[in-house]
Every structure is written in structure tokens, then in C-alpha cells.
């Protein structure tokens, strides 16, 4: 409980701090926060439950389009649209988990790869629901007490949400549920013998990850002011995967911050947009070969060296 309160305080502090940095940097921090949430969702599946998903971009798209459809076409206020979209993301993730339970790791990767193509079909050919293939635009939103919602507000909200996600997933790792996921990752059969209900637990992991990715999608759409099919391609999913692996896979949620910071924030800040894919692919390969546990692992090894302690 104390950890949670400290986490909440830090998240609030970071969000307020976001309001005081310069315009473009604030926008970038907002986007970084979105990437952190998406990577945390992927990391929950990959590092904790041992499943590889390439569908994170599709779930983000689901969140983005879902929230905007509710906001613009149904005229729903934001406070209802966000929870409803999250719940929908949770349900779709749960369904995906039911499929995942029956698949070998590699088949799951193929299916999630295909899932992106299917989402692209909706985004490009979904008619009115997807803005005739051009995407949807965020309407003018009035928040009671804040007035008209601006990008600054959204950026601060993104940073707050990302910090809370990191705190909550870190907490989850230490909880019964997190330990069950780890047990399944290490050895599914042994975990089942301990009485773990594989079907239940795996679909819960997917459902949680689905809701988290949907949250990232909602925030991204609000931050950018639009949704667009090009935001949710396989390249987006791969960039999340790269950030997750480069960030680190020792079960610490710090990796979900380090990866996006290195692979999203730095290239974006130094305007290396054209080199994105080569950077992501290259960093991913190099990490896999020379530092399989990612930046977090490197950090832990350095710390062990300095303190002279064996891990």
C-alpha cells in the first residue's frame, strides 16, 4: 500500500512537471508515455506470461477508433467513453487469449501478425466508422473544471497514466497473479500441476494487456487529435517489441521505460525519423546477440560489478 501511495505521488509530480516543459518536448513526452504503456502491455505478455504478440498496434487502434466512435458518433462524454473502450479492449484481449491458449508460441505470433492485417482492413475499408479510410478526428472536448481540453492536458494525463501503469505492473509482478504468470512462463506443465488454471490465467494476461494497449491507443488518439490507419501497422507493433526486448526482460518494469526512452525518445528528439526501422531492427538484433536481458540486465550486471556482489 505504501508503495502504491508513493507511486501515485511520483506519477502526479511527473504529470505536473510535464506541464512546465516546452511545447514540443511536452508533446514528445506525451508520445513517450503512450509508448511506455504499450510496451508495458507487451512486456506483461512477453516477460511475464511468456507469449509473443504482434497485435499491440491493433489493440491501440481498437482503443483509438473505439473511443473516437463513442465520442463523436454516440456523443458520449469522455468520462464514459474511456472506461467503456477499456472494457471493450479487455473483452477483445480476453477472446484473443482464448485463441492463444490453443496455440504454440510461434503460431500465436503468426495469428497476431494476421490480426494487424485484419485491423487494417477495418481502418481502411470500415466506411463511416473509420472515417472512410482517412481516420477520425477528436472533437472539441470540455472537461468540467478544466475548460476546453488541450494537448497540454492530454500530455500530462499520458505521463500520469504511464507512471501509474509502471507502478501497477511492478506491483502486479510481486502479487499472486504475477507469480502465477511467471510460473507459466517458466514451465506451463509444472504450473498446471501446481493447480494453475492455464486457460483462465493466460486469457486474463491477454485481457489485461489488451486493456492496457487500448488505453495507450485512446491517449495517443487524444494527444495527436486524430486516428489514422498508418498509426497501427505491423511496424508499430514491431517497434513496441523492439523497445520491450531492448529495455529488458528480467521482469522489472523499469525496462518498459528504458526501451521507449532509448528507441523512441532519442531518435525522435534528434530527428532520426528516416532511420527508425533500421534503428529498431538493428538495436533488437544487437540486444538479442550481446545482451539478451536488455538494458535492465546490463544495468544489473554493472551494479553487481560495482558493489562486488554476486546476483
Amino acid at each position: 500500500m505504501r508503495r502504491l501511495i508513493i507511486g501515485l505521488a511520483i506519477a502526479l509530480l511527473l504529470a505536473v512537471a510535464t506541464l512546465f516543459v516546452g511545447g514540443y518536448l511536452r508533446f514528445l513526452l506525451g508520445q513517450l508515455a503512450v509508448a511506455v504503456i504499450a510496451v508495458a502491455s507487451l512486456s506483461l505478455l512477453g516477460n511475464m506470461a511468456g507469449m509473443i504478440s504482434l497485435a499491440s498496434a491493433a489493440f491501440m487502434g481498437f482503443g483509438g477508433y473505439g473511443a473516437l466512435i463513442l465520442l463523436t458518433m454516440m456523443g458520449m462524454p469522455l468520462v464514459f467513453a474511456i472506461p467503456l473502450t477499456l472494457a471493450a479492449g479487455w473483452v477483445v484481449g480476453w477472446g484473443m487469449g482464448l485463441v492463444a491458449i490453443r496455440l504454440h508460441g510461434i503460431s500465436l505470433a503468426i495469428v497476431t501478425f494476421g490480426f494487424i492485417q485484419i485491423f487494417q482492413v477495418f481502418a481502411k475499408q470500415g466506411g463511416e466508422l473509420s472515417g472512410d479510410g482517412y481516420g477520425l478526428v477528436v472533437p472539441d472536448i470540455v472537461v468540467p473544471g478544466l475548460g476546453h481540453m488541450t494537448q497540454d492536458h492530454v500530455a500530462a494525463a499520458c505521463v500520469f497514466a504511464a507512471a501509474m501503469t509502471v507502478v501497477l505492473t511492478a506491483n502486479l509482478t510481486k502479487s499472486r497473479i504475477g507469480r502465477t504468470w511467471l510460473a507459466i512462463k517458466e514451465n506451463p506443465i509444472a504450473a498446471q500441476m501446481q493447480g494453475v488454471n492455464l486457460l483462465m490465467v493466460r486469457s486474463m494476461a491477454f485481457a489485461t494487456a489488451g486493456a492496457m494497449a487500448a488505453l495507450a491507443g485512446i491517449l495517443q488518439a487524444l494527444l495527436l487529435g486524430i486516428t489514422n490507419p498508418n498509426l497501427y501497422t505491423i511496424d508499430t507493433s514491431i517497434s513496441h517489441l523492439a523497445m520491450m526486448v531492448v529495455g529488458g526482460s528480467t521482469g522489472m518494469s523499469l525496462g518498459a521505460v528504458l526501451g521507449p526512452a532509448l528507441l523512441f525518445f532519442l531518435p525522435e528528439y534528434f530527428d532520426l525519423g528516416a532511420y527508425h526501422e533500421v534503428l529498431f531492427g538493428g538495436a533488437l538484433l544487437i540486444t538479442l546477440v550481446i545482451a539478451p536481458t536488455g538494458l535492465v540486465g546490463v544495468w544489473e550486471r554493472l551494479a553487481a560489478l560495482v558493489t562486488g556482489r554476486k546476483q
Binding site: G50, I52, L54, V99, R102, L103, H104, G105, I106, S107, A109, I110, V111, F113, G114, F115, Q117, I118, Q120, V121, K124, Q125, P188, I189, I234, D235, I238, L241, A242, V245, A274, Y275, H276, E277, V278, L279, F280, G281, G282, L284, L285, L288, V289, P292
Partner: protein, 288 residues
């Protein structure tokens, strides 16, 4: 009507060639190579560059095949040498990394715009068969697929090397014990996979143009073909690829292009969930 079927078979043949590569690599390494489509693109780029240099058809094809094989060798080095002690899923992530690295690299080196490619051997000539017009490239594709199918059959059933490779796929440990150089057989399967993908790249380039993401478009369809065939069956992969090509063609005609991917995805899910061993697979595909 006939031209639709032949067109579908031609597209399916290309999927089949790529799917055979997917299956070959899967049999020996237990991986699905997500960068198989990029081997197709590498072959296609090598082909148009060689054509621009003014090579004869034999030369241009040779250049394309060698580039595909060279890329296959690099994949082998990264995945089966550098990462040999890693878990399967990490190796799969490595192939995903290769996919995005090669696509991004191609975007930097050449333009993102599709480049035109001349059809191999006969150019744009059209043949009339029983009142239907067929591009000569379609016939070349069908002939190549037939030749490859026969070649693979003879290779796997009649030659020592082919049998050794089948043995490695069956059980690497026992194959090694009987003196088969397992590592060399792994390299060989990557080389063949690279060559077949490059061949598909040469043949598909007149229809789609040559661009960095061209491989991604065919990869999913080819992989679905390989899954339908059973993922570890070479001929299953070929037939699965053909089937996907024909289904796609008829899907476009009857319900429109938008639903093409939906139907292919439906096929993938249906097979993975209800018949994971595919039509001809030996089912070592675990269901955990």
C-alpha cells in the same frame, strides 16, 4: 473463367515457392522465419539491378538466386550460429528484427516507390490458349513451380543429401549420431529457402513492382499456405500455397478485395485451431 483459375494458380505457385522455404526452415530449425518475405524482396531487387546492368536472362536469374542464397546464409549465421543457444521465441523475434531491418534498409538505399520490373525470359508477350489470353509470365511461373516440385521430390527421395536433410528434420540428435553434419544441413535449408524466395521475387516482380515492403504482402499468405500444408511438409506447403492463391483470387472476384485478407486469416485460424497439423503435417506442432 479459365483465366481466373490459371491466374489464381500462378499467384498460388509463388506463395507455394515461398511457403516451401518457410516449411524447410521450420522442419530443420523449428522456427517460422518472419523475414522470408524480405528474401523475396532481396531477390526482386537483385533481379532488377542485374537487368538494368544488361544481363542475359540466365545471368539475371543467377544473380537473383545467389543474392537470395547469400541472404539465407546471413540468416543462418545470425539465427543458427550467433543465437543457437537461445529459446525458440527469441530466435523468432530475431527474424522479426531482420524483417524490419531489411525493409528499413531498403527504404534508405532505394526509394519507397514501386519500381517497374520486366517479366523474366519472355517479357510482356501474351499467349492465347483456347480463346483466353494469358501473360507468358503466368505460364513461366507454372512451369517453374512444376520443375521445382519435381526437383524437390527427386532431391528428397533419391539423393543422399536430400535424405540426410529429411533425417535432420526428423531427429537432429540421431541424425548427428549417424554421422550427418547437422549444421551443414541447417545451412543448406537456409540456402534453399533463400533461393526459392528469390525465385518467387523474380517471378512476382512484374505483377507487383519492386518495393521495400513487397515481401510483407506475400509473407502472410505464403505462411498461411505453409500452415495449411502442415508447416513441416514440403509438398503440403506447396499445395497450401496453391490453395491460398486460388481462394484469394476467387474471394476477390466474388466478394471484393477488402475481404481477401479476412478470408485468408479465417483459413489460418481455422487450421491452427481445429487442424494444427494441417493437411499433410506430421504434427510435432505442440498445442501448449
Amino acid at each position: 473463367m479459365l483465366s481466373n483459375l490459371i491466374g489464381g494458380l500462378a499467384v498460388g505457385s509463388l506463395y507455394g515457392l515461398i511457403a516451401v522455404g518457410v516449411a524447410l526452415v521450420y522442419r530443420t530449425t523449428g522456427l517460422v522465419n518472419f523475414a522470408q518475405g524480405e528474401l523475396v524482396a532481396i531477390g526482386a531487387y537483385a533481379y532488377i539491378f542485374a537487368t538494368a546492368w544488361g544481363g542475359s536472362p540466365l545471368m539475371t536469374m543467377l544473380v537473383a538466386l545467389l543474392s537470395g542464397m547469400a541472404a539465407g546464409a546471413v540468416f543462418f549465421l545470425i539465427i543458427d550460429v550467433l543465437l543457437r543457444h537461445h529459446q525458440e521465441l527469441r530466435k523468432v523475434v530475431a527474424t522479426i528484427a531482420l524483417m524490419t531491418f531489411i525493409q528499413g534498409g531498403a527504404r534508405l538505399l532505394v526509394t519507397d516507390r514501386p519500381q517497374r520490373a520486366e517479366a523474366w525470359l519472355f517479357g510482356d508477350r501474351v499467349v492465347t490458349v483456347g480463346g483466353t489470353y494469358l501473360p507468358s509470365n503466368t505460364l513461366v511461373i507454372l512451369a517453374v513451380l512444376t520443375a521445382i516440385a519435381v526437383g524437390l521430390y527427386v532431391w528428397f527421395s533419391r539423393t543422399i543429401m536430400g535424405k540426410a536433410m529429411a533425417a535432420v528434420a526428423e531427429d537432429p540428435l540421431r541424425a548427428a549420431l549417424s554421422g550427418i553434419p547437422v549444421r551443414k544441413m541447417l545451412l543448406l535449408s537456409w540456402l534453399v529457402a533463400g533461393a526459392l524466395a528469390a525465385l518467387a521475387g523474380v517471378l512476382i516482380s512484374p505483377a507487383t513492382g519492386v518495393f521495400p515492403a513487397m515481401g510483407g504482402q506475400v509473407f502472410l499468405a505464403a505462411t498461411v499456405g505453409a500452415v495449411i500444408g502442415g508447416l513441416d511438409s514440403i509438398f503440403g506447403a506447396m499445395l497450401g500455397g496453391l490453395l491460398v492463391g486460388v481462394v484469394q483470387t476467387y474471394a476477390v472476384i466474388s466478394v471484393g478485395g477488402a475481404f481477401r485478407d479476412l478470408i485468408v486469416f479465417g483459413l489460418l485460424l481455422a487450421f491452427l485451431l481445429f487442424k494444427p497439423s494441417g493437411l499433410f503435417g506430421s504434427l510435432r506442432l505442440r498445442r501448449v
